[in-house]
Symmetry: C2
Subunit: 291 residues, 2 copies
């Protein structure tokens, strides 16, 4: 892998956990001269400077993005398109744009709507990393170490842009992988978006159920683990549900079909079928997932 | 609360984590002169003696239960009825029987089938405690400290038997609560059995899905937590599903109805409705459950 020439200026739009960790990691790796932050809340940007996450900031988008060599969009999915529209007039020729959105089809559609097509130097991305805590205070240069980052370039995407974005993530310790946006959105609908919706839905159902009374005192560790993701940020999950709705609906329906089969087995007290299903699931999980 | 007169002999049928912890706790509290263990695997019973969990054992049921003042049935739900049938000829007049099964209606039905009615001194129970590890090696006199134990006596149950079983659990540090078997089975179908089945079903669906390929490498901490209960013992969950099938089917159907509503909201991209549902669930969980 060729050595990366440090970039003169990158701009992180949305300096929270993900954007902040990306910024801090690149600064510490010496891969960028100036990391510029943009956001709406000036106090947050001031804190980011104090914490050494970014070098400078502006709440003026033109100031933040002009002359930038690379722009990282780490904002909620619902504001991606508006942000691209606003920054469009100020972009430097040849700027590389990337993002950290959890759904990729919708980001590509947003770019197409704003630019007429997905710009050749726009490299859609999704770092699979998180923390219990959010916000710039939790930004951590090591956040992406040994974590996956999925890039979803198209056939029209400029290879040199993909290579640079790949190298930056690799410099932060991430394992970078490419796939189509469609495949990404299917995989994450099934493995991440679906379980979140299942957990929200269960807690909502139990919370609303007057017949049972307050059941939460009777729950144990299994329920606590199962529903932990229902304590996730509601607005973020609203955005993901809306922006990846096609794939999510598909997997919700697949899952409902599985549940109907399971319900029938329980109704028939089909011991053998249930044992086989549970054992298969247990073995698959034990094989693939630690703890 | 009156002081408990130590019992001369209690018998624990099924000396694993729960039965063993019950035995060990009562021995350490000095509430019983002899704790007798019964099981099929003699090596396990030998180990239980070596570990100080029980005082003596037999693989002969008559020897194990005759002269016993209290019998704890901590065996799988599927073998409760057979065990009661086998021990019925050897029971001492006035013996108290209790159990640790996760479903209570089916245990009561088993007792009714064997004895013609639920014996007055049979106190059905369910300790809400567990551990990552199972087996007698994990037996722990402190296992029930600050945990709930639900008793489900009927109107015919002898009050003195309920009082004694209550006092024994309290001596182990548990918080004892009584409710009807029906209410118990509904609550645990909704809060424990349903989530287990949902987790097994999700892992099974993803594991079987050739279209997506192996998706497990793309899962993160949220999925790990959500599916942890799918690594539970398949045979135990088969038994629970069969023995509490009525309540489980009811809650599976309620949940399916909730999921259908949610699917419709995602399909319509109903931002406001989704936000409200997710936020309500998050707030309920944050209020009632730690971490």
């Amino acid at each position: 892998m060729s050595k990366i020439t440090p970039l003169a200026k990158i701009t992180v739009i949305g300096v929270g956990l993900i954007g902040g960790s990306f910024a801090k990691g690149l600064k510490e790796a010496g891969l960028v001269k100036t990391v510029f932050g943009f956001g709406k809340r000036e106090l947050n940007l001031q804190k980011a400077v104090e914490l050494g996450v970014i070098d400078a900031y502006s709440t003026d988008l033109q100031t933040a993005v002009q002359d930038s060599d690379l722009i990282m969009l780490s904002v909620p999915l619902s504001v991606m398109e508006g942000m691209m529209q606003e920054m469009k007039p100020y972009l430097k020729e040849g700027v590389i744009i990337t993002d950290a959105g959890s759904a990729k089809g919708s980001v590509i559609q947003a770019a197409q709507a704003v630019f007429g097509m997905l710009p050749a130097r726009f490299v859609p991305g999704h770092p699979i990393a998180g923390k219990e805590k959010s916000g710039v205070e939790a930004a951590d240069a090591e956040l992406f170490v040994a974590h996956r980052v999925i890039l979803t370039p198209t056939e029209q995407t400029d290879t040199s842009a993909v290579v640079l974005v790949t190298q930056l993530w690799q410099a932060l310790g991430a394992n970078v992988e490419s796939m189509s946006a469609r495949h990404h959105d299917e995989i994450f609908a099934a493995t991440s978006h679906l379980p979140h919706l299942l957990a929200f839905s269960l807690v909502d159902m139990l919370n609303e159920h007057q017949e049972l009374g307050n059941v939460f005192p009777y729950t144990a560790g299994g329920f606590r683990d199962f529903t932990r993701i229902a304590s996730s940020d509601a607005t973020m999950w609203r955005d993901i549900s809306v922006e990846n709705s096609t794939a999510i609906v598909k997997w919700l329906k697949e899952y409902q079909a599985s549940l109907s089969q399971l319900t029938e087995m329980v109704e028939k007290q089909d011991s053998q079928g249930l044992q086989q299903l549970f054992l298969g699931a247990k073995q698959a999980r034990d094989k693939h997932i630690k703890n």
